[in-house]
């Protein structure tokens, strides 16, 4: 009886989590380069009924078992590209295809981002909105225009029309980008699951686009459907809990 209660309770917790993740996806609908997440569930261990003292037909060919509810098995990140939006701003960059910009954190470690909404600091370095330096060639302090080619070569153009090459932007690539750790603020860190980054030029499958940003890859209709599924499953399992409550009440009323 009490296990039935914990079955229902495990499902309420799981569905609550699904609603939380869905809400987070919807909340980040307008976050640059946000990658949506989805929750995967699994069934739990199966217990033999006979061992629990229930009356079970002894001749059963396979042991009669009952499940013990559900739990989250994974929160998966969908790494597909978001919608690219042309902003016309000179220091907005988007990565089309795999690859991450490299960002220097204040503690000296490296973080990775796809949100290329950069600005220039006093020394001519590009920085993220938080003020962390991006691993890119230093830009001259003068009023020059900047261009970045699709394969990552940065040039400055003087008002006179002279083109000054500044260097090459290298991107970080991962064997398993789904294993990156989210640091918040659109930043990711490498983890044992993601593997070490490979620092390479934008390759045949990757291009850098200037004057554009990558939007979130959240599909509102999918999220609303998930919201409905989560909410209905929640109610369904709440009803299972209620039924068990009534059964226990019935058992309590055997002798009044």
């Amino acid at each position: 009886m009490l296990r039935g209660l914990s079955n229902a309770a495990s499902a309420l917790v799981a569905q609550q989590l699904k609603l939380d993740v869905t809400a987070n996806n919807v909340a980040n609908l307008n976050t640059t380069a946000f990658k949506k997440k989805d929750v995967q569930f699994k069934d739990l261990l199966y217990q033999e009924e006979a061992r629990r003292g229930n009356a079970v037909l002894p001749a059963a060919e396979k042991p009669v078992t009952a499940g013990t509810g559900t739990a989250m098995s994974a929160i998966r990140t969908d790494l597909s590209d978001g919608v690219f939006q042309v902003t016309g701003r000179e220091l907005d960059f988007a990565v089309v295809g795999p690859g991450y910009f490299r960002v220097q954190l204040p503690d000296g470690s490296e973080a990775y981002t796809r949100a290329g909404e950069f600005r220039k600091d006093g020394d001519g370095f590009l920085v993220t909105p938080q003020g962390y330096r991006v691993q890119m060639p230093q830009l001259p302090a003068e009023e020059h225009e900047f261009r970045i080619s699709e394969d990552g070569i940065i040039t400055a153009i003087t008002p006179a029309g002279e083109v000054i090459p500044l260097g090459q932007v290298m991107l970080a690539y991962f064997d398993n980008p789904a294993g990156l750790i989210k640091l918040g603020g659109n930043l990711y860190a490498a983890s044992p699951a993601s593997g070490e980054p490979r620092i390479e030029q934008p390759g045949p499958n990757t291009q850098i686009k200037q004057f554009a940003l990558e939007g979130a890859n959240v599909d509102l209709i999918v999220e609303m459907t998930n919201l409905i599924v989560g909410q209905r499953n929640f109610s369904l399992n709440a009803r299972a809990l209620q039924t068990l409550d009534e059964m226990m009440q019935t058992a309590n009323n055997i002798r009044r």
Partner: protein, 246 residues
């Protein structure tokens, strides 16, 4: 008299087992590759009913038989197809028709219908539990590139055949034992796979919420009915003790 008391109690206990199964089905109605269970009950052991002998040494006369309550006879798993959900992810696979993916776990070979696979740090194809998915040549390791999976399980990366998924069927899937995390184990011989693998889809649970709700209502009411029977026996016993004896 007491016999009836235990018959009613066994009825109540059997409904609890049913409710636990329904609860587990509902809890997993959003679990990829989950197959619903159905608790099958059957009548308890048959006992001869004997006429009480009128005289000593008279042979006992059997006047019929009676079942003693109810027993849980088996947990039947329905392997009906679950609904396919499109995800568009290259490593999300669903099986239409019969059959299972094979997975290497620390406890040995396991079978699953949950094709929500990922890559680990060494680019091996793994389940959400981190267990490696098996191909015909062993654990599947994918080089970088565009992954295509054919309906018969061939894995192509950038058009190159890497391996074929190890897909199996069983003569009697009803005998497969659930071990949790969407896995099954069995000693049965593996048969050739006749289903199809759909890339970019996941198979949802085949739980029918309306069916389970109807069962849940029935369980609750049968539980109450058995409780009433138990109460009636209690009241009868009470009358014997308090009224007849006086």
């Amino acid at each position: 008299m007491i016999r009836g008391l235990y018959t009613a109690a066994s009825g109540m206990m059997a409904q609890v087992v049913r409710q636990e199964t329904i609860g587990n089905n509902l809890a997993n109605s959003d679990t990829v590759g989950f197959k619903q269970d159905l608790t099958i009950l059957q009548t308890g052991r048959e006992n001869d009913v004997v006429r009480i002998p009128q005289e000593r040494l008279q042979r006992q006369e059997i006047i019929g038989s009676m079942d003693l309550g109810v027993l849980v006879s088996l947990q039947h798993t329905s392997f009906a197809q679950g609904p396919l959900q499109e995800t568009g992810q290259a490593l999300d696979l669903a099986i239409t028709g019969n059959g299972f993916f094979t997975v290497e776990t620390p406890e040995g070979m396991r079978y699953t219908r949950n094709g929500a696979f990922n890559l680990d740090a060494e680019r091996f194809l793994v389940t959400a539990e981190g267990d490696r998915v098996l191909g015909v040549l062993g654990p599947v390791q994918l080089p970088e590139g565009e992954v295509q999976i054919a309906p018969e399980g061939q894995i192509l990366v950038n058009g190159q055949l890497i391996d074929t998924l190890r897909l199996v069927e069983f003569a009697d899937p009803g005998q497969l034992q659930k071990t949790g995390s969407g896995y099954w184990s069995t000693e049965q011989a593996e048969l050739d796979f006749n289903g199809q693998v759909q890339q970019g889809y996941l198979e949802g649970a085949n739980v029918q919420p309306a069916e389970e709700m109807a069962r849940m209502v029935a369980v609750l009411r049968l539980y109450e009915t058995n409780q009433r029977v138990l109460q009636a026996h209690d009241q009868l016993t009470g009358k014997i003790v308090n009224e007849i004896g006086i």
